[in-house]
């Protein structure tokens, strides 16, 4: 496939478009994600942090918009590019940052790092270093909700690169057969590592992959948070009502490289510039201004988020590093 650009608004805009509080909250979440990523990159640049970071700048509307519709008891599985999902689902930036720093009170006791943040208290079953790895797990969480008779919904985020993995297709089939309350959310950002989607997916769209299994699917502008919420609302409600799975393909773009430091020789400056203009934060800000918010308010949101993330990083840097004694803890839960 080629990576499409979607700018047509949905036929009927989601009510969130007019909901001042909700939209501001969404903008705030998105801004916090952006600022978390920027702050993380700064820590790397200044040598305070080492390791690999996969930033989700440019894709914030998806994480924020989808999680907007989820309760704390709903489950989410994420990917190597998971900071946004974690924050949107309710994880605390200071403990996330501590995890990046390898500190003992990071979400994973500082042993796992960016790609593995998990927080069951907020329904976050974990970011995942294996492309496609979280998808069957989300199906399992949906099965769990169904068997236990709850109305919990399970969401699995994945990149369009994960369409190459058999696990996605096995999961779609299983979810459809069992009518499970799971929403498959693809963030199609046009690239899997250094390869454009045209080189790795023969399908015209990711949404089409759901069709054979009778799973409703849509391709949606992933850079307009109102569009994101609209499509997700339908899917989450369907799942919650017991009507089975859906797949959402959100077309978006990552502003930065695959990882911090990626030279990005596989794409042009022009392409990046064009997508910068479709930045989800800019577009959300536009919508907010149309609803009467002034720049001062929006700047304050940004300033607060910057401050929050800087504080998180400062706190994290001051925490005690995970002790060597913790190397072998939590491998097992105990003998039977």
């Amino acid at each position: 496939m080629t990576h499409p650009v979607l700018t047509e608004p949905a036929a009927a805009a989601d009510p969130v478009a007019k909901d001042r509080d909700a939209l501001l909250a969404l903008f705030t979440t998105m801004t916090r994600i952006r600022e978390f990523e920027l702050c993380g990159a700064r820590q790397l640049a200044t040598g305070k942090l080492s390791g690999t970071l996969h930033l989700s700048s440019g894709q914030e509307a998806v994480a924020a918009g989808v999680c907007h519709l989820l309760a704390g008891t709903d489950h989410v599985t994420s990917t190597h590019r998971g900071h946004g999902h974690c924050l949107a689902k309710g994880a605390a930036p200071d403990r996330m940052m501590a995890e990046l720093f390898g500190a003992g009170n990071g979400y994973c006791k500082g042993r796992s790092g960016s790609m593995h943040i998990a927080d069951p208290a907020t329904g976050l079953l974990g970011a995942n270093g294996i492309v496609g790895g979280g998808i069957p797990m989300a199906v399992g969480a949906a099965l769990s909700a169904q068997v236990r008779g709850t109305t919990q919904v399970s969401v699995t985020f994945f990149g369009e690169g994960a369409t190459g993995e058999g696990s996605l297709h096995e999961s779609l089939n299983l979810a459809a057969l069992w009518r499970l309350p799971v929403v498959f959310v693809c963030e199609n950002n046009g690239y899997a590592e250094l390869s454009p989607v045209a080189d790795v997916l023969a399908a015209d769209s990711v949404a089409k992959l759901a069709a054979p299994f009778g799973i409703p699917a849509r391709t949606v502008d992933g850079n307009d948070v109102v569009e994101v919420v609209g499509a997700a609302r339908e899917a989450v409600e369907r799942a919650r009502a017991g009507h089975g799975p859906s797949l959402l393909e959100y077309v978006t773009y990552r502003h930065d490289g695959h990882y911090v430091g990626d030279a990005q020789s596989y794409r042009t400056k022009e392409e990046r510039a064009a997508w910068a203009e479709r930045d989800p934060l800019l577009r959300a800000a536009e919508r907010l201004r149309a609803l009467g918010f002034d720049d001062e308010t929006l700047d304050a949101v940004r300033a607060d988020a910057t401050a929050e993330m800087n504080a998180a990083a400062e706190w994290a840097a001051a925490q005690v590093p995970a002790p060597a004694s913790s190397l072998t803890t939590d491998v097992y839960g105990g003998l039977s």
């Binding site: 990071g106 593995h116 974990g126 797990m137 089939n173």
Partner: protein, 325 residues
């Protein structure tokens, strides 16, 4: 005590655990309506309903992955993999996910699930349906692996596995599947990680599990007739391995013979022999012997299988020459 076949003991354990704990669910290929490809789940869908006992597509990765997610969110899933060989298709979910979730999440999440696996060794099933790759799983921190050697063990270890807070792979033996044995009545749960001495002895320690255990016991019987007293130790759990019990036995006998149906190189016996070469070194009075199939895939015809798997007579001979030097 009741006499049960191995598969019936498995069926009993599953039924009792489904009744005991409503979080227990079972899914896999042909396990629900058909009652299991080999009968292990017979009657369970009828008794516990279509929600808790489900047939799946032929999707080993999807099955195990769904079990991981279900286990993380409040269920106690039992997934079935039809043959041990097919675990190859689920290794990511087992090794990168199930085994590591607790560690990666700093203990915040856990994966109390069971994967029941049927090991086809010795039943004429050929190179893609006969493999024993327990050492792969034993090599993975976070997993547990048990291999019951008779009906009572099949029931008690499966119960232990289901109640474990960690992912446990239960290796059932196709060759023992219809073997009968006494099974204690009541809710007997085996601990995971404790070996048992199936037959005490002084001259040589024989370590074996699953089908190889029964062949080793036959050999021990014949050795006794020749005045050689073999101690037969069944580790039962391969991960964790009960090093202490095995080394204690070695300290008593000074000689170690390991028998298994996996191939030797980098096989499970290597770890046991390595323990003898390390902590057990002082006790070792003769070279450790590993008696296993040759380094080749498993053949299908029964006359070749006979030659491939160490037979009781081979075990007897190996033990004899180990003891007599």
């Amino acid at each position: 005590m009741t006499v049960r076949k191995y598969w019936q003991a498995v069926n009993d354990a599953l039924r009792e655990e489904l009744a005991r704990d409503e979080r227990v669910v079972i899914f896999g290929e042909d396990v629900a309506k058909p009652g299991g490809p080999f009968g292990a789940t017979r009657g369970l869908r009828e008794e516990f309903g279509a929600s808790r006992v489900r047939d799946t597509p032929i999707s080993e990765a999807g099955i195990v992955g769904a079990a991981v997610g279900a286990a993380m969110t409040g269920l106690r899933p039992i997934a079935e993999i039809m043959y041990f060989d097919f675990i190859t298709l689920a290794m990511d979910q087992l090794v990168n996910q199930a085994a590591k979730v607790r560690y990666m999440s700093g203990g915040a999440l856990s994966v109390p699930m069971v994967v029941r696996v049927f090991c086809g060794a010795g039943r004429g099933s050929g190179p893609q349906h006969s493999q024993s790759v327990e050492s792969w799983l034993g090599h993975v921190p976070g997993l547990r692996v048990v291999a019951p050697g008779d009906p009572a063990e099949a029931k008690a270890l499966l119960k232990g596995a289901i109640r474990s807070p960690d992912p446990v792979i239960v290796l059932d033996s196709s060759r023992l599947w219809t073997k009968r044995g006494e099974v204690p009545d009541g809710d007997v749960v085996a601990p995971i990680g404790e070996a048992r001495i199936v037959r005490p002895g002084n001259d040589v320690t024989i370590v074996a599990w699953s089908w190889a255990l029964s062949r080793s016991l036959e050999a021990a019987e014949k050795l006794a007739a020749q005045g050689i007293s073999a101690e037969v130790v069944d580790p039962r759990s391969l991960n964790p391995l009960d090093e202490k019990s095995i080394m204690d036995s070695l300290r008593r006998t000074g000689r170690l013979l390991i028998v298994h149906d996996a191939v030797s190189t980098y096989g499970p016996g290597a770890e046991i022999a390595a323990l003898a070469a390390g902590p057990g070194f002082g006790a070792l009075r003769a070279p450790v012997v590993r008696l296993t199939p040759p380094f080749a895939p498993a053949p299908f015809p029964s006359h070749l299988e006979q030659a491939y798997y160490p037979q009781p007579a081979d075990i007897e001979t190996a033990a004899l020459s180990l003891v007599r030097g």
